[in-house]
Symmetry: D3
Subunit: 160 residues, 6 copies
C-alpha cells in the first residue's frame, strides 16, 4: 500500500495546494498532509489554525489525514511508514529548489522517493505569500483561496 | 488500483530509464512501459528490438508490462484504463518541455495526471542520444547502459 | 504614433497568438501582424492560407493589418516605419531564444525596440506544432485554436 | 492614449532603470515612474530622496512624471487610469518572479497588462543592491549609476 | 604563473567545496582559498574556525594556501596578484547569480577573469546550509562533509 | 604545464569565440583550438576554410595552436596530453547542454576537467548561426565577426 506525505507550511492553504491534494488522493492509497510546525519564517497563522483550515477543506476525503511535523521530513515520513513525498511544481526557481531537496532526501533515505505534480495552470504562479500580501492591502483573494480561508485571512490581519 | 504508463522511445533503454521503471514499480500497483512506435526521428533500433531490450531488463518485475503505442499518448493511456503518466525529469530544458506536454495532456484528458520523478543524480545528464554518439566513435558506453544493451548497440552500429 | 509589428509563422494561428494580438491592439496605435513567408521548416499551410486565417480572426480590429514578410525582420519593421517588435513569452526556453533575437536586433537596429507580453496562462504551453501533432492523430484541437482554424487543419491533413 | 506605469524601489536609480525609462517614453504616450514607498526591505534612501534622484535624471522628458505609491500596484495603476505596467527583464530568475507578478495582476485586474523590455546588455546584470554593496567597500560605482547618484550614495554611506 | 582565488563562506567546508579545490589545484599553478570574514548572514562558525577546517583538509596540497578576506573580492584578488576567480556551478539559480557577479567584476576589474567548474554530480545539490539544517535535527551529515567537519558541526550545535 | 583544448565548429569564428580564446590564452600555458571536422549539421565552410579563419585571427598568439579533430572529444584531448576542456557559456539553454557534456565527459575521462568562461556581455547572445542568417539576407555582420571573416561569409554566400 503506497502511503504518501505532502509537506508544507500551508500558511494558509491555497487553491493550488488543494488541487495537489485532490489529485494525489486519487493516485495514492493513503495521503498524509503534513503541516510544518516550526518554519524558519514567522507564519501568519499558528500551526493549529493552519491545520484547521486544511482539515476543513480536505477532511471529507476518505484517504487523507492532516498532521503536523517538526524536524527532518524524512524522519516524519519514516514514522508514518510512508514511501513517497509529494510536491507541486510551479516554475523554474521552484524546480531547482525542489530538486535539491529531493536529491538530498534520497541520499539520506534511499527508500523514500519524491513525486512531483505540476500545478494546475490556473494556479501556476500562486503562493501563500502572494495571498497574504494582497490581503494586507485589502485586495480580493477569492481567486486564490477558498472562501473560508479568505475569511480567516481577513480576520487575522484585522487583529494585527 | 493505480495504473501508470511510462512512455518513451527507449532507443535504447538507458540505466536512467531503468532507474525510473524500478522506482515507479514500487509506488504504483501496475506499470505499462510504452515504447513509441513511430518517432519523428529515425530510431537506431526497430520498435521490436527496443521492446526486446526493455523486456529483457524489466521482464522480471511482477507488476510491469512492456507494450508499444502509436498516436496520441492520452488515447493509449485511456485504452489501458490507466490514470497516470510517469516521466523522469533531468534538467531545466527537460522540465519546460515536459511541463508543456503535461499541461496539454491535462487540457485534453483531465482525468489523466502526470507524475514526475527526478532522475538519479548518477544518470542526471544521460540520454539515449549521448549513448549512441559515444558508441559511434567506439567509446565505452557501459557506465550508461546495461551490458546486454551495450552489446546490441555495438552490433547494430557494425551493421551500418 | 507607435506602430508595432508582431512577427511569426502562424502555421496556424492559435488562441495564444490571438490573445497577444488582441492585447497589443489595445496598447499600440497601430499593429502589423507579419506572417513569415519562408520559414526554414516546411510549413503545413502556404503563406496565403496562413494570412487568410489570421485575417479572418483579426480583420475586424480597426488598427490591425496583416502582411507577409521575408528576409530580416528589422528590414521589414523599418519599411513599415514601425519602432516596436511585439513577442509573446511562454516559458524559459522561449525566453532565452527571444532574448537572443531581441539583443541581436538591437545591435543591428538600435532605433527598434522589442516588447514582450506574457502569454495568457490558459495558453501558456501552447504552440502551433502541438496543434498539428494532435490533429495528425485525430485529437480534438478546439481548446487550442478557433473553430474555423480547426476546420482548416483537419481539411489540410486529409489532403495529405 | 496609452498610459504606462514603471514601478520600482529605485534605491537608487541605476543606469539600467534609466535605460528602461528612456525607451518606454519613446513607445508610450505617457509614463508614470512609480517609486514604492514602503518596501519590505529597509531602503538606503528615503522615498523623497529616491524620487529626487529619479526626477533629476528624467524630469526633462516631457511625457514622464515621477510619483510614489503604496499598497497594491494595480490600485495605483487604476488611480492613474493607466492600462500598462512596464518592467525590465534581466535574467531567468527575474523572469520567473516577474511572470508570477504579471499573472497575479492579470487575475486581479484583467484590464491592465504588463509589458516587458529586455535590459540593455551593458546593464543586464546590474541591480541597486550590487551598487550599494560596491559603494560600501569604496568601489567605483560610476559604470552603474549616473554621477549625481554616485555622489549621493557616497554621501549617504558616510553618514552611517 | 596563473594564480587563482576560490572565495566563499565555507560555513562549513563541504565535500563539494573540497572537490572544487582539489580539481583547481591540478589546473592552476597556485590557488588561494579565500574565506569571507564578514558575511551578511550570521555564520555558524567564526572565520578562524572556518579557516581551520579548510586548512585541515587542504593544507597538504603544495600549491594551495588558505586566507581570509573582507571587502570587495576584486580588491583581494588584486592584492594577491591573482588573475583568476574560481567558482563552482551547481544549478540554474546558482548560474544566474554567479553570472551576475562575474559580469560585475569584469566591469570593475577587466584584468581579472572568472572560471567556472561544474560541481561533481554526487555533490551537485549540496550546500553548507543544507548541512547545518540536517545537523540541527540530528540527521547524518557524513555523506556531505568530511568526518572532522561533521564532528565540529555536532559539537558547535551542542553549545547552542 | 596546463594544456587546454577549446573545441567548436567555428563556422565561422565569431567575436565571441575570439574573446574566449584571447582570455584563455592568458590563463593557460598552452591552448589548442580544436575545429570539429564532421559536424552533424552541414557547415557553411569546409574545415580547411574554418581553420584558416581561426588561424588568421589567433595565429599570432604564441601559446595557441589550431587543429582539427574528429570522433570523441575526450580522445582528442588525451592525444594532445591536455587536461582541460574550455567552453564559453552564454545563457541558460547553453548551460544545460554544456553541463550535460561536461558530466558525460567526466564519467568517461575523470582525468580531464571542463572549465567555463562566461561570454563577454557584448557577445552574450551571439552565435555562428545568427551571423549566417543575417548575412544571408544581406544584413551587416560586422558587429559580430572580424572584417576578414565578414568578407569570407559574403563571398561564400555569393557562390551559392
Amino acid at each position: 500500500m503506497a502511503v504518501a506525505v505532502y509537506p508544507g507550511s500551508f500558511d494558509p492553504i491555497t487553491r493550488g495546494h488543494y488541487d495537489i491534494i485532490e489529485r494525489t488522493a486519487k493516485i495514492m492509497d493513503h495521503l498524509v498532509v503534513a503541516v510544518l510546525r516550526n518554519s524558519s519564517k514567522t507564519p501568519l497563522f499558528t500551526v493549529e489554525e493552519r491545520m484547521a483550515m486544511v482539515e476543513e477543506l480536505v477532511g471529507g476525503f476518505p484517504n487523507v489525514v492532516v498532521e503536523t511535523f517538526d524536524g527532518l521530513l524524512i524522519d516524519f515520513v519514516r514514522s508514518k511508514e510512508a514511501s513517497v513525498i509529494v510536491r507541486g511544481l510551479r516554475a523554474v526557481t521552484d524546480f531547482e529548489y525542489e530538486l535539491q531537496m529531493a536529491q538530498t532526501n534520497r541520499v539520506m533515505a534511499p527508500e523514500i522517493d519524491t513525486l512531483f505534480l505540476t500545478t494546475n495552470l490556473k494556479y501556476s504562479y500562486l503562493s501563500s505569500n502572494i495571498v497574504k500580501e494582497i490581503a494586507l492591502y485589502d485586495g480580493d483573494v477569492s481567486p486564490f483561496v477558498h472562501p473560508q480561508v479568505a475569511e480567516r485571512v481577513k480576520a487575522k490581519l484585522l487583529q494585527k
